[in-house]
Symmetry: C2
């Protein structure tokens, strides 16, 4: 039954017949060394008593924890879960525990989590996907982060350098632009973009990058229709596009999820993607690599991005903000065949 007050270090010390300090040193190899004999006695006592160090007490005494926080918009979204996987892997290597904070994209929650992480004296914080054009919120987050940093914490962001912290910058603009160029190279001439909400930075950047590439290559600006940054958003946007009479021969959905929704909408409308119309996405989500037709997209090394972010935030603190750029790679598949 739940009784038996957990054994503490003093219990172990007493049992081993040594001082508290020695027990402490024996159980966690500090710089000081203890005689092997005592060492053993302490270890034996610890096992005998089923001693487990109390991390909270250690954190207090040492003034630092073994915990890093990770803020994501939605862990169920493969984009974030892949990043989280990479980061979790890296954390494990460093013996760190990851606090998963699912913000649901709500500014309020995001701030609450930040505060909680600060209370926990989390060693570091990584923010993924909290890019918004909402300056009020960005400001608020920046403030929280700053006071966290002042307290000796470390933080990094993934995606856009809008926060006063180190960041793994994802080249959304460049990736989308490169994609546009490739599509033009394949013979496409009229594009439409399926984009997300205006206040979502990833979305607007990809849209802008694509538009820029397209404009430079063809002299014309792609049309666009905005909706949610999700599978259903893509479906709706594409449906609307189709209804309005598709002037386009090629559609760029700003992420793979939207692209898949678009694919479904086409199927339902009897439009054959890869023949009647080309469709491309962005991210190269692993589970989506088997859709038909194969989806042309811009591959992002998501797991590496997670790893990188942790490395960045764990690395030597530097005076100036570091930016680590990550570029996507265009992956051509059947959804955008060369145009005959």
């Amino acid at each position: 039954m739940a009784g038996e007050r957990a054994a503490t270090l003093s219990d172990v010390a007493r049992e081993a017949g040594v001082s508290l300090a020695t027990a402490s040193r024996a159980l966690n190899g500090s710089d000081r060394v203890v005689r092997p004999e005592l060492q053993e006695r302490v270890l034996a006592a610890a096992t005998k008593l089923g001693y487990t160090p109390n991390a909270n007490a250690q954190a207090m005494a040492r003034g630092s924890t073994e915990t890093v926080g990770l803020l994501v918009k939605d862990i169920a979204d493969p984009y974030f879960s892949t990043i989280a996987g990479g980061l979790a892997d890296e954390a494990e290597k460093h013996g760190l525990l990851v606090m998963l904070c699912n913000t649901g994209g709500q500014a309020e929650r995001e701030q609450k989590f930040l505060a909680a992480l600060r209370r926990q004296r989390s060693r570091a914080i990584v923010l993924a996907g909290s890019d918004t054009t909402d300056m009020g919120h960005t400001r608020e987050v920046a403030d929280l982060l700053t006071s966290y940093l002042d307290g000796g914490g470390r933080a990094a962001a993934i995606s856009q350098p809008r926060l006063p912290v180190d960041t793994v910058v994802i080249d959304n603009h460049g990736g989308a632009k490169a994609l546009a160029e490739r599509l033009v190279g394949l013979g496409y001439r009229r594009a439409a973009v399926l984009t997300g909400p205006e206040d979502l930075l990833v979305s607007t950047e990809r849209h802008a990058g694509f538009a820029e590439g397209w404009l430079e290559a063809t002299g014309s600006k792609p049309a666009y229709v905005a909706d949610e940054f999700s599978r259903d958003g893509g479906h709706r946007a594409m449906s609307r596009l189709l209804e309005d009479g598709p002037e386009a021969d090629c559609v760029f959905a700003v992420n793979d999820l939207m692209a898949v929704g678009a694919l479904a909408a086409c199927r339902q409308a009897g439009v054959e993607v890869g023949k009647d119309l080309a469709v491309a996405g962005f991210d190269d989500i692993a589970t989506l690599r088997d859709v038909t037709p194969g989806l042309t997209t811009v591959r992002l090394p998501l797991a590496d991005i997670g790893r990188l972010a942790l490395e960045l935030v764990l690395g030597e603190p530097s005076a100036e903000l570091r930016k680590q750029s990550v570029h996507g790679e265009v992956v051509l598949r059947e959804s955008t065949p060369p145009r005959s």
Copy 2:
């Protein structure tokens, strides 16, 4: 710059001109009440000093934390990330922080995480996907869990009731069996199962359930080929099946990921799924709902399962182990049309 030793409660107390005790009571509404006037003074002092409570110190003093641990095999796998999403949502409602532990299916890591969670004095632990037929490891985990429980912790498992804790039992057997029956009802007569490794319980259960249903309905046992419990495993298994000459008119892959791999293998082999051959999966992973042909599967309420697990582990501790059953629902799609 990072200086300014973070303000502590005593700083606040001094600033407000009250005792430590009063400051504590004012800042976190204990049972005791403080005069509104003082209350205000304390609050003001706290904001002025930018005070943030130290959760570790609170944990020590109170003897309990605001943290729950979640063990998953692979957070990048949509199955687990969806569960994690549901659980994270629920945790947020309870004001709890989630420690994400990515075990990678390694027994050793799993045990390390369990120990870490115990050290952290995590309020509760939820284990997802640690089902193995490896009794040695199961035993080890059971022991760790037991001592954690003895220390006043709470724990729950998702999937199979092999651990001495409350569990959200997923009816893999029943779901697969129901699927088999439906397929037979559709006119299929010769089945093959694409299954995972033998020591993976989910996989063996689904296989067994399907086989039982099939046997009862047709009098014959489905063939099977085993490989990894992943997209690539499904691909390889299906390829092998196809090479050996597909005696089957219908293939059941024990999860959607494998099924998608199988779909790809069929495509490459020129076998048209939904016509030449039927294919079904299990889980109903959201991002896979748009593959073509639509994949027949057994839908599991993954997010709810995550929520449920947390509710279970947070609920009134009961003497006997609780089991909360969750059943899947067969979802018929184009990959298994009625057989003409």
